[in-house]
């Protein structure tokens, strides 16, 4: 795994996900909103929001893998879109485990703008491979 674990996923690299801290208690990261991440009107696209969250959840599941497991994959993800983030703004995210089991782990990823306003909350289930 490279210095930025999100870079092990080509799509997360395309999106530009930066992970700043990864422990079994929490994953922290950020995404700067660029033109190509937007929908119409210069605000972040829901797909970029979800891809950011998924990278965070995947890294969280990876660092929490039981011994001998090969990897992890997302099997379900729910996104509540709570507010917009515009081009030039930074969205920060924190992923925390709600449950870590031998077969699945459940994660909640909270995303906020730097002014503290919420962007999205994502709950997802990761399967141990």
């Amino acid at each position: 795994m490279s210095a930025n674990p999100a870079h092990s996923m080509p799509f997360a690299r395309l999106v530009g996900v930066e992970i700043t801290s990864a422990t079994s208690e929490a994953i922290e990261g950020y995404l700067d909103v660029r033109d190509e991440l937007c929908t119409t009107g210069g605000i972040i696209h829901g797909g970029a929001v979800m891809a950011f969250a998924d990278a965070m959840g995947a890294v969280g599941a990876f660092v929490s893998l039981p011994e001998g497991a090969k990897g992890t994959t997302t099997i379900e993800s729910k996104t509540n879109f709570l507010g917009a983030a515009k081009i030039g703004e930074r969205v920060t995210a924190v992923a925390k485990p709600l449950s870590i089991g031998r077969r699945i782990s459940v994660w909640q990823i909270t995303m906020t703008r730097t002014d503290g306003k919420p962007v999205a909350v994502v709950t997802q289930t990761q399967l141990v491979l």
């Binding site: 080509p10 997360a12 991440l37 929908t39 797909g47 990278a55 993800s77 729910k78």
Partner: protein, 178 residues
């Protein structure tokens, strides 16, 4: 809010013209759906960045496709969950826009909530087929009467063999534009 789709200012003059001349003749209506498909394919930068292609838009239905490319993959070499979400969201938005085509210049659509399930590792080109959860005519009636309407769009994701690899449900909130 996220996930706005093209409305008023974003629509080209050609689409605006086509909407104005849509008189219900099948040929004209088909042309308008084609223009809408073209427009949707151009006006969402992130969908273009990812490589999503809008294949078809109808009255409350849409189909979109995403080829597997190096940048759409995850760490296990299949299509990334976020790329598949973006594909399904594009199809969902197309179905929504197709349902509201007669009043598209007036609507402010917002995807408030999305839940996606991944049932199989997604390899190769993936096709997303979206359909609104009720008749378009009923949605339009409620929109006209209440000024807003909420409804789900169901999306099925399938690989080239036709096997479902995932499914998404998007809750759209459509209101009259300010």
């Amino acid at each position: 809010m996220t996930n706005r789709l093209p409305h008023d200012a974003q629509l080209t003059e050609s689409l605006a013209w086509a909407l104005n001349v849509s008189t219900g003749y099948i040929g004209v209506t088909m042309q308008v759906f084609d223009l809408l498909r073209e427009q949707l394919g151009k006006t969402v930068p992130f969908a273009n960045h990812v490589g999503v292609e809008i294949v078809e838009v109808g009255e409350g239905t849409a189909t979109a496709r995403l080829d597997e490319q190096p940048h759409t993959r995850n760490h296990i070499g299949s299509q990334h969950a976020g790329a598949l979400f973006t594909l399904a969201e594009a199809a969902s938005g197309g179905a929504m826009a197709g349902a509201f085509m007669p009043v598209l210049m007036q609507v402010r659509p917002v995807a408030a909530e999305s839940t996606i399930r991944y049932s199989k590792i997604a390899k190769g080109p993936i096709t997303a087929r979206a359909k609104i959860g009720q008749q378009a005519s009923g949605l339009l009636q409620e929109f006209e009467a209440q000024g807003k309407v909420r409804f789900p769009v169901e999306v099925s994701l399938a690989d080239e063999s036709g096997e479902e690899v995932g499914a998404m449900r998007v809750e759209w909130h459509v209101s009259k534009g300010r």
